[in-house]
């Protein structure tokens, strides 16, 4: 972990990994899309709409994961004053928000033919909507202050308080009666869905995760670049 504490060393390693990550992401998407469309069956009840699940579930999982990552990074910024922690959380927020938006939209598109409605205010959908608002709130805090140190202090609190919503999203289908189906992959007793559907889902999950890692590394570096430019501008203003 020590080598990652030095931003320069971290980016040297990240730069070497980037080409491999982008190629792996592209290959993973091609394979996952092939399996999603051409090498998996229609569901006996859902028909072809089951294929929406291959993009809905990874989006939702990553929306939860990215928020946890932001909370962990915020905690590290608070406790260890790690130079990259705040930047990592800030760079992850728009990506998490995009995954959350995609989970809501694809779920809604699936809901219309299967449930007969685009939206219901059940516990899972509502808590996911709250997660979207938390992402937007977190990003708004960073934009609300000219002083990045003040913005970072408040953004850390938003990330850490908001993480309470993550178990609520996850267990909402167990704690309340919801139209959304209960957990069918990560649950006691193993996955409840057939392997022919589980494999394409796993591949798409890998593709989404690789895309997040690749994009996040570039976004993180962008954030450090922007900070460097800001610091230089402030320095030149102070000299003049």
């Amino acid at each position: 972990m020590q080598i990652f504490a030095n931003p320069n060393r971290f980016f040297q390693i990240a730069d070497r990994a980037m080409p491999v990550l982008w190629v792996a992401t592209l290959v993973a998407f091609v394979v996952a899309l092939y399996f999603a469309f051409f090498n998996s069956p229609a569901d006996y009840q859902q028909g072809e709409t089951v294929r929406i699940m291959y993009v809905h579930v990874p989006s939702a999982s990553l929306a939860l994961f990215v928020y946890v990552l932001m909370a962990v990074a915020s905690a590290m910024a608070l406790i260890f004053r790690h130079p990259l922690a705040d930047a990592a959380a800030k760079a992850a927020a728009p990506l998490g928000a995009a995954f959350c938006f995609l989970a809501l939209v694809t779920g809604s598109i699936w809901g219309k033919p299967m449930w007969g409605t685009w939206w219901v205010w059940d516990a899972r959908l509502t808590s996911m909507f709250v997660l979207m608002l938390l992402y937007l709130g977190y990003m708004a805090v960073w934009r609300a202050f000219d002083d990045p140190h003040r913005a970072a202090s408040l953004a850390r609190i938003v990330a850490l308080v908001g993480v309470i919503n993550i178990p609520i999203v996850k267990f909402s289908v167990n704690w309340w009666n919801t139209l959304h189906q209960p957990a069918s992959i990560v649950r006691a007793g193993g996955p409840a869905i057939d392997k022919s559907i589980l494999w394409p889902l796993g591949m798409m999950f890998m593709a989404f995760t690789l895309l997040f890692i690749s994009t996040h590394l570039v976004a993180l570096k962008n954030e450090v670049r922007a900070r460097k430019i800001r610091a230089e501008k402030l320095k030149s203003m102070g000299n003049s």
Partner: protein
């Protein structure tokens, strides 16, 4: 394999279309910002993070 004539295939295509467009837009925007910031750093004679500082 997908049956293109089955019910609700249009819902599947719309869902995949939205996902593709949004993810592609995010990747392109992030990479374009990287290029812009790199140029700004070079213009200020500053090194990119992870590279040795210019003399």
């Amino acid at each position: 394999m997908i049956d293109w004539n089955a019910d609700h295939v249009s819902f599947v295509l719309v869902a995949y279309g939205i996902v593709t467009l949004l993810l592609a837009a995010i990747v392109v925007a992030t990479l374009r910002r990287a290029v812009t910031l790199k140029k700004t750093l070079a213009g200020m004679n500053l090194s990119d993070p992870g590279q040795r500082d210019k003399a």
